[in-house]
Symmetry: D2
Subunit: 346 residues, 4 copies
């Protein structure tokens, strides 16, 4: 039984991690960290866990935690994990960081986009970018995994095969993403009140959202060169779900079957990526509560572009689910353990 | 491995049954019945099941089905199960009927409220009302179970202990219930369109809803006499969830502790009923996707009334979850098998 | 042209007041009070007013304001209006208070339910309870009007005719009310975040909500005796709207026509109260954005009770619209001036 | 007083037309056409109009209607207006067609995208494309106006100034649009049920939506050449609102101020187009219920692209409001008569 500690267990991603680990046969949560709720019962913060979780919230002591558990998940704001981690800790436990601290290899890019000094740049080299479908083998050997961002996961997996195979010109890539409101976290802000979000839609972080360099870096690896793309996130009046609509120019004339074959080449064996049938557009309702990524595409011969689409549950494949998938890989467990969740509809 | 057949698998309750049974270790669906979609792939009707369910939809042939499975769930409109069932079928398979056909013992009451001739009144006597927490022992021995209605389940479990113990005057009972829209089914009706339901709330079936006699009959058994009560359902702009607010006059002066003790007497050992802590009102968000019933109460000394509250997921404890719970009891399995679902929030 | 000052113009009720007064031919807003946003452009707080309102927010100086305007609306938390008002001010301007400060005649009841010392009990006697349909003549002569609460308006108007005519036993009255989330205000609280409210429903303030004594007092006047009733508010995942479902025992056998005649007696001439046609249940969608109150009822001969239903837009008839209606009466204008708004659907 | 007839008054756009015209001082509805509800009271189909509209629904007899009114609005499916209109009718009344019948000048393009034979191509030349801000003078003289589509209105007005001034390369234009569900109409379809739309988001009509050629034609006029662009509509779980996010490559280096000056050149004098302040992204909540178009832009120097954004209420500026604006122009009334609606929030 793997012993798990969570730092930041009372955010939405943290609580989803708890939900998923409750159904995991080989893992057991030993530490429900939450600076804001120390000594309060976890189930009083999230009452869905009433009579399921009896523990109280603990503080953020990563040092103490490292003595007691096999793996630490940090579901905390940027900067915290980098400020706590050190050699001794890394020698004792594996760390899966759900924040952005170890996602970007270049510390300057991190500091520019996050407006934050990086406290542990020495681990950037070692940290593995935990997008399981792409970096599976590296994840297996990692002791520090940077769990990808929610928008990033959906964006990359939607475009990856075509970028990798050179079928699209990466410099023409435009990613228009739409997210449910849980992506904004549980902080009490007027902008996230029910009446402000409901019955409305908006873009935000236009040409400046922090997931942009993360997508650029990873897709850059795929095509072997630096790329710059447009990424625009939008807020949607729903709890969960990310939908990505991505546009790019084709580098040559292709048929539906040819493109489908490329997607299948990368994803046919992937349990959690479903390449939909022709003309079925991904919808967030079909993946809600699950670790699936639904992808599809449409060729537009009129403009010589291809429209790629992807849908995930931002809290599962976009956060907690992927983190568990990484844990499974790191500990040699079945990759889908605890994640065989049928999407819940309606 | 129990072989399962579902008649009416493409309604919302039917599809929830599929979702739950996919996670059930001792059951396997052999027949996805759906008159409207015969020969269509089940996963094309509910795309959450893409790459999870490969089967095609079958017709309603209960006779043929009885040869192939151990238990049949009928998640169909009223009248269908009663028109198909017969001695031969009942000798071969167990039946769990999610419609109202076998819920009311008095055929006249059924025919009056449902405006329908009952085709198999001869089985009314035998059929067991499948509210597991109350009729557990009878369910275990049953071959025909009438799965309770969604409003009914929530209403009865919310009020049962106090009615049973004579703490409230059942003739003063008023049940004001609120339901998510999945309770209205997947039929294409203008009244259930997004724009008609969203941003609105209404009562319907006032003083005439068909779950009324069902609640009256069951609570009547609890207090040992016929009762008449008011039940008013309301439509709420959300997918899932039923909230019941029930009012009744107290028969004597009581303290919080005394009433709490009564609830605990009936529910402390019940896995799926959670009596909340003092002053925590049940909320549908804390039970969504799970088989839990959250209940609580508040004494109002000013009016000498008690307000009882309960929340369920109408598709789980109010339909498919309870049906699986009944199946588990009927086949001697662990009662919670396939139902140990943590509520999904947000 | 009536000059208007608003204290608390940046709450939801305050901003609705601005919306309504923009369309009022005889009134002009001179002062957009908002302690939290002093010197900020009003349209930057509510961007729907961009290029419509150019003014900046002002502070809460009622003294200064009294020199400049004819009427002051206070759309502020309880206690503020009572702490600012004085004889000099009242000699110069009329005041319409949207808070609860002057709604209850008995200062003890106020202090008990609101846990607040009342700073100006000397005006309680004079203040007129501004439920226009019931106190029209008194409002016309008032200089201080207590604008009724949102739940209260809907509850009282729904039940008033039958209480007044003695058709129901007021001691059996149970009011189950459901409100959109704008009723909770624009404060940044976790409980009112989109993800917490969406896809959920709950009761709150059970047996303790502050609108209870307000309803009791007013309906007590109607039947000429003190009454105690149950009032339970619920939070609904929608922006606007209150739905009231009220239950009471009939004092005698009545027909639909007799009850309808009583409702018509009180409301036939009332522009803003619509007694719906038989069996049409009020729905909040049909009154959204308007000053209408839709009411109807259903007799239940089985239980000898009557179910009364009412729907309003909580921000219009439940707050700003009623405040404007009061202003119109106080200044001798056409009662519906600025309020002839067709409900917006969908 | 202008006499108005509406054919198709019981769709969502038709009912919004009724709402707007109820507040129009110089127009009066004489004919509530609705094939599906002939002889039913209009207010029984849309109960927001109870005690406001007393009329019954009439059939689609354009011939009869032409004798009685000054202007006919057709808010009907494609094909109907073209099949009814003739010289005699056009000699008697003005027609504002909310369908697509007269929007595209090239009958072949119409027939290809709409899969429909055009019954009156002889009027295509004469028909004026009623995008008031662009074709104002032509609209004033028109007797047949093609009211633009909802997506089209928002897309064109968002991009028009930059296309017209040659600041962007129109061949790089990608329009990603998001719409509330009222755009899908009031037809009873499973896909538009509350539970199917709520908590989900999807693209549809990818690379094939019928508003594409309409946008291409109009923006083609602006830049003086034929263009092909990508347009992708998405369904959002909200009642009203369209948000457009458009991407294009800049033809030269520009500053914020230069682009702002171009937007102002076209829109400063336009009452219904609001160019927002720097960094304020358009949000549908700020235009709901009104005829406003909110637009803004963001330059991305990293990719040399510009992101243009626009928001409208699809039922007002995207349908009924624009139709009324066209009527006002055609009859020499104040252009904003009946349309001075403050957006309703929340």
């Amino acid at each position: 039984m793997i012993k798990v500690g969570i730092i930041g267990s009372t955010g939405y991603a943290g609580s989803e991690l708890v939900r998923l680990l409750m159904g995991h046969k080989e893992a057991e949560i030993k530490w429900f960290g939450s600076r804001s709720f120390v000594d309060k019962k976890y189930a009083s913060v999230y009452q869905n866990f009433f009579e399921i979780v009896d523990d109280k919230c603990m503080d953020d002591n990563m040092q103490a935690l490292a003595e007691q558990v096999d793996v630490i998940f940090t579901a905390t704001p940027q900067g915290l994990c980098a400020s706590l981690v050190n050699d001794e800790i890394l020698s004792k436990v594996k760390i899966i960081d759900l924040s952005a601290d170890f996602r970007l290899k270049d510390v300057n890019v991190y500091e520019e986009w996050y407006k934050l000094e990086h406290k542990s740049p020495q681990y950037l080299e070692e940290a593995v970018y935990g997008l399981c479908e792409i970096n599976r083998e590296d994840v297996k050997k990692a002791r520090l995994v940077a769990n990808p961002g929610c928008y990033t996961t959906c964006s990359i997996l939607t475009c990856y095969p075509l970028v990798k195979e050179g079928l699209i010109n990466p410099d023409t890539l435009i990613i228009d993403a739409k997210s449910g409101t849980s992506g904004a976290g549980r902080g009490a802000k007027v902008d996230n009140l029910f009446c402000e979000v409901n019955e409305s839609m908006k873009a935000y972080g236009v040409a400046s959202h922090r997931h942009t360099p993360e997508i650029e870096e990873q897709l850059g690896y795929a095509c072997g060169k630096e790329i710059k793309l447009n990424f625009t996130p939008h807020l949607v009046p729903m709890n969960r779900g990310i939908l990505v609509t991505a546009y790019a120019s084709l580098t040559k004339e292709v048929t539906y079957e040819e493109v489908k074959a490329i997607y299948d080449k990368y994803y046919k064996e992937e349990k959690f990526v479903r390449v939909l049938e022709k003309d079925n557009c991904p919808q967030t309702r079909w993946v809600k509560g699950s670790n699936y990524v639904d992808v599809n595409f449409k060729i537009d011969p009129r403009t010589n572009r291809i429209i790629m689409m992807g849908a995930i549950d931002n809290l599962v494949k976009g956060a907690a689910g992927q983190a568990v998938q990484n844990m499974n890989l790191m500990f040699g467990l079945k990759e889908s353990e605890g994640l065989e969740l049928v999407p819940m509809f309606p």
